[in-house]
């Protein structure tokens, strides 16, 4: 227990991997073996969730910046160490990850029927990589986890995906990798700057935050480095016009893959902005604030418009992600506590509601093996429980008050208004378009007469599927009605982040 206390983050990060390796030993060929493997994987993710609740309990919002810190020598010659720690920004993304993983595993029980051993191994391996990226406090360690998670995701899309899975997997991998590699060059440069300025090698975030880099104009070091990082993160978010990998990957991935991709992987981009790009290059952020806010607002509208005309439900949800993540970028670059809090909250919301949408789409796909909107209609008559769940999630996605989506979007628009009323007004239109495409889709799929014979015999939600959806719906209302539950352990970190990222508040960061 004492060991667990001092290595809580390590345990959380690596427990899934250890669990996954043991899972490989389960003989799936034997009778009951497959069920045992599923049970084992579900138990593992639940256990990780339980451990991560300990992190929540131990984390003290009023305490030091990074808590539960761990450190061990890794490549000491270059100042690279194994450093973990969490602040409010990491905390909630870790909890989001551990919360969604059991759901993802449970949702795969029926959907995945081939090569299950590899599947659950990769899913748990992915969890380790994601958690590691969220709690790494060393830029090298962060990069290792950041790139490592491409491996399981690549296989998840490529092996268990839809018709064009190989194309989608390759596109996903290459797109993200190109961005990451330029980020790698920037990381080298930064780490070496620490050596030049302070005489010692270090790759710890807290040390890098102290660097003084020239940042006056567009060709300065800060500006170029910021662009290198921003490219990597913007691809991940994904920010218009770097979003084209997303519809392919989302549509082709198996349900659990889409859920994780949308709910957690996209958040890596936002997290990267908050952890690295903003605090390290405040002057560059000031320089690029307006262009990025414009891109964010464009993404909101563009995503919504393109979503509107999609004939495929999953593709529609994928484009709605582009739109929702546009809000996140808009809020982040507004650089005031309200908007940034909203952005962060929006990231969590998007994880819950889009994740739930993908789960629902997966459920009807399992029944009908199609996702064309035109193939449905009037499903409320045969699937009433499904209809209720779908309705709740849809309303959360269009940010109805009382659901989680409202809190995030409202805060973003409120904060962004202080910076640029014009852009906020444009992005505000996205709220309307969002309602249009979601409700229109909902109407075409669920209401009206039962046009297709095949739909008459569709079964309503099974008990397992209710178990999958229940936590999502609880989270939707919980986060919509009690946002302070999250804000309590988040606000101090957000304030620190904003202070560090605005040059005015931190004059020492200048030339």
């Amino acid at each position: 227990m004492a060991w667990l206390d001092s290595h809580l983050l390590t345990t959380t990060v690596f427990l899934p991997l250890v669990w996954a390796v043991i899972g490989l030993l389960i003989p799936t060929g034997a009778p009951g073996g497959r069920a045992a493997l599923r049970g084992w994987s579900l138990a593992g993710t639940l256990l990780v969730f339980a451990v991560s609740l300990l992190i929540y309990q131990r984390y003290d919002a009023g305490g030091a910046e990074f808590q539960l810190a761990e450190s061990a020598a890794w490549l000491p010659a270059l100042g690279i160490n194994y450093r973990l720690g969490t602040d409010g920004i990491s905390l909630w993304l870790v909890l989001l990850t551990t919360f969604l993983m059991p759901v993802a595993v449970l949702s795969s029980f029926r959907a995945i029927e081939t090569r299950e051993r590899e599947y659950y191994f990769l899913l748990l391996f992915l969890e380790t990589a994601m958690l590691g990226a969220f709690v790494a406090l060393d830029i090298f360690l962060f990069y290792v986890f950041w790139e490592m998670l491409l491996i399981p995701m690549y296989f998840l899309i490529g092996i268990w995906g839809g018709k064009d899975r190989v194309y989608a997997a390759m596109k996903f991998f290459l797109y993200t990798l190109v961005g990451s590699l330029l980020m790698l060059v920037a990381i080298f440069y930064l780490a070496y700057q620490h050596k030049l300025q302070f005489g010692t090698y270090s790759a710890a975030f807290v040390d890098l935050y102290r660097l003084k880099l020239p940042g006056a104009d567009y060709t300065s070091a800060q500006s170029l480095l910021f662009l290198a990082f921003a490219l990597a993160f913007a691809i991940k978010v994904p920010l218009f016009p770097l979003h084209t990998w997303l519809p392919d990957a989302h549509v082709q991935a198996p349900t659990a893959g889409s859920v994780i991709l949308a709910a957690i992987l996209l958040k890596m981009g936002g997290y990267g902005f908050m952890r690295i790009a903003f605090p390290l290059f405040p002057q560059a952020v000031a320089l690029y604030q307006v262009p990025f806010m414009v891109l964010g607002a464009v993404a909101v509208l563009y995503g919504a418009w393109v979503a509107m005309v999609q004939p495929d439900i999953k593709k529609l949800v994928a484009y709605s992600s582009v739109s929702h993540m546009g809000y996140v970028v808009l809020g982040l670059f507004s650089l005031n506590s309200i908007a940034v809090t909203g952005s962060y909250y929006q990231m969590l919301n998007h994880g819950i509601s889009t994740g739930a949408l993908f789960l629902l789409v997966g459920m009807i796909y399992e029944r009908r093996h199609t996702r064309e909107i035109s193939a449905f209609g009037g499903l409320t008559r045969v699937m009433p429980l499904f209809a209720v769940a779908f309705m709740i999630v849809t309303l959360s996605s269009i940010a109805l008050p009382g659901t989680n989506g409202f809190v995030g979007e409202f805060l973003i628009l409120l904060g962004a208004w202080q910076v640029s009323p014009a852009l906020t007004a444009v992005a505000g239109l996205g709220v309307i378009f969002g309602a249009v495409y979601m409700l229109w889709m909902f109407q075409r799929v669920m209401f009206g007469p039962l046009k297709h014979k095949e739909n008459e015999g569709l079964k309503d939600l099974s008990f397992r599927e209710m178990l999958v959806l229940a936590p999502m719906i609880v989270a939707i209302f919980g986060m919509g009605i009690f946002p302070n539950f999250v804000f309590d352990k988040l606000s101090p970190s957000i304030d620190r982040f904003v202070a560090r990222s605005t040059t005015a508040a931190n004059p020492a960061q200048g030339e």
Binding site: V144, M148, F155, G158, F173, L174, L181, L184, F188, Y192
Partner: protein
């Protein structure tokens, strides 16, 4: 002056003291082993197959043991009148070469049976080549360097043509022999010019000559240095001296190709580092000459990375693809060579990269050796379709090697690339690093395409007879473990590489 001019024969210079004898132990072990293997292979009263195989492995094992012992002592000993040195650098590389030879032997055993090529000469030539490599890493004299190069290359010429009945194998051997000899001649001519200008063939004397002429060097010296460097660029298959390589790699038997890409390349770079240091690159060359050297090598590195990666994209034969990828990796190594003098890490990243590359590439070739069909057919991408269903663990190993070559963490390839690019940033080669990372992004496509076929396609045709043996499985396992180990905990390897280059 380290070396005395040999005007008259002075026997006392040729006598070996005890520490010198100890320093030469790995060479004696390997040479003695080779001698016994040769004798065993001609005796009449038994079949030489098993004894030769085991004796070769024993030789390698004892050789590595002896080198490890020397490495622990860390002493640096000049032998043979200063023409050779036994230092941490050479001992470190001895281990790499012998390990490469050892794993090649392990993986070839079953393969040779299947191809009806089970002749003892195979093992003898592999060991001779390894001996040449060992001499290469430890030579301090251009003459010794040349002899080592020839010993190493001649053995490999024969190995490339080992499949006597196959025309491609013969063609490859002849091509390699002619072009390789031409390169050796260029190198020798360069050495002669250097001798003419400096009055010595000794590497440290040449460096002393350069450093005593800070104002400027005679053009003949520069020409000589360039010719020597070109000889090495040919050996490492840097563009535009790479033409020989894909055909040779494709024609040679698979395990020999694996040996060439790892051992030969590591040896060429090990010698290259010593020679480049001797020419005064980065240390003592006048500014104009230094800039000239730097810029031409820069162009060469960029071309090597671009051509290697882009041509590899279009290959469907795995051997050919890995040949072009090997060219690309030479490009990354050249980045490290360029950065060496300007960065605090020196040439350590190059050494580290060579080890990582040897491990992952040899691993990939062992896998190819196992899945190759008769006459090395069945190595097209299509033939790998659905391999994961038939051989899940072999596929996993191939996945590890491919991700490692593409430089994705947590593998050796990533750690090595990280260090080499980091050192280049320290040497202020920012544009070079950007080109290099973009090239490695290109490379991801063709490495991952292998995995697409293995994991994401359904099997086609009937599976070829597997050539898995205990020996090759052991080799693959060790390579996978090493690839992951160097990738996850690189600190040990980094400090070993550092120690090696500080002894230079």
């Amino acid at each position: 002056m380290i070396m005395e001019p040999l005007k008259t024969i002075r026997p006392e210079l040729l006598q070996l003291t005890d520490p010198q004898l100890a320093a030469l132990l790995p060479y004696f072990v390997v040479f003695g082993g080779i001698a016994v293997v040769i004798i065993l292979s001609v005796v009449r009263f038994m079949k030489p197959k098993w004894p030769v195989f085991f004796l070769s492995l024993l030789t390698v094992g004892f050789g590595i043991g002896a080198a490890l012992g020397l490495l622990q002592e860390g002493a640096s000993e000049l032998v043979f009148n200063g023409m050779m040195v036994s230092d941490t650098y050479s001992n470190f590389f001895i281990i790499v070469f012998l390990a490469a030879a050892g794993f090649t032997i392990l993986s070839s055993f079953r393969y040779l049976d299947h191809e009806n090529l089970q002749h003892p000469e195979y093992y003898v030539l592999t060991l001779f080549s390894a001996l040449g490599m060992m001499l290469m890493a430890s030579s301090l004299d251009l003459i010794v360097l040349f002899i080592a190069l020839e010993l190493m290359s001649l053995a490999v010429y024969v190995l490339v043509g080992f499949r006597r009945a196959d025309r491609r194998s013969n063609e490859a051997a002849l091509k390699y022999f002619i072009l390789g000899s031409a390169a050796s001649a260029v190198l020798l001519y360069g050495a002669a010019l250097l001798y003419g200008m400096t009055g010595s063939t000794h590497i440290r004397d040449i460096l002393a000559f350069v450093q005593s002429h800070p104002a400027g060097l005679p053009p003949v010296y520069v020409l000589g240095a360039w010719l020597v460097i070109v000889g090495f660029l040919f050996k490492v298959a840097a563009v535009p001296f790479h033409m020989w390589m894909p055909d040779v790699y494709e024609g040679a038997p698979v395990p020999v190709t694996g040996f060439m890409t790892t051992g030969l390349k590591a040896a060429a770079f090990a010698g290259f580092v010593r020679v480049l240091l001797a020419t005064g690159y980065g240390k003592g060359l006048s500014e104009a000459v230094q800039a000239n050297f730097h810029d031409l090598l820069w162009v060469c590195a960029v071309l090597t990375m671009l051509v290697g990666n882009i041509v590899a994209l279009t290959q469907t034969n795995l051997k050919r693809m890995l040949a072009y990828s090997s060219i690309a990796h030479s490009g990354y190594l050249l980045v490290g060579m360029l950065a060496g003098p300007g960065s605090e890490q020196g040439y350590a990243p190059v050494v580290m990269y060579l080890v990582a590359y040897a491990v992952m590439n040899l691993g990939a070739f062992v896998v190819l050796t196992i899945i190759a069909d008769r006459g090395d057919s069945g190595l097209n991408l299509n033939d790998l379709s659905g391999l994961a269903r038939r051989h899940p663990w072999l596929s996993f190993a191939m996945g590890v090697f491919m991700f490692s070559m593409a430089g994705i963490p947590p593998t050796a390839g990533f750690a090595a690339k990280y260090l080499i690019f980091y050192s280049a940033i320290q040497a202020n080669e920012i544009s070079l690093v950007i080109i290099a990372v973009l090239c490695s992004a290109i490379s991801v496509y063709y490495y991952l395409r292998v995995l697409v076929y293995i994991y994401m396609r359904d099997p086609v045709g009937s599976p070829a007879a597997s050539r898995m043996s205990v020996w090759s499985v052991a080799a693959v396992t060790v390579m996978v473990v090493l690839t992951l180990q160097i990738g996850i905990l690189p600190a040990k390897m980094v400090s070993a590489a550092r120690k090696a280059v500080t002894s230079l």
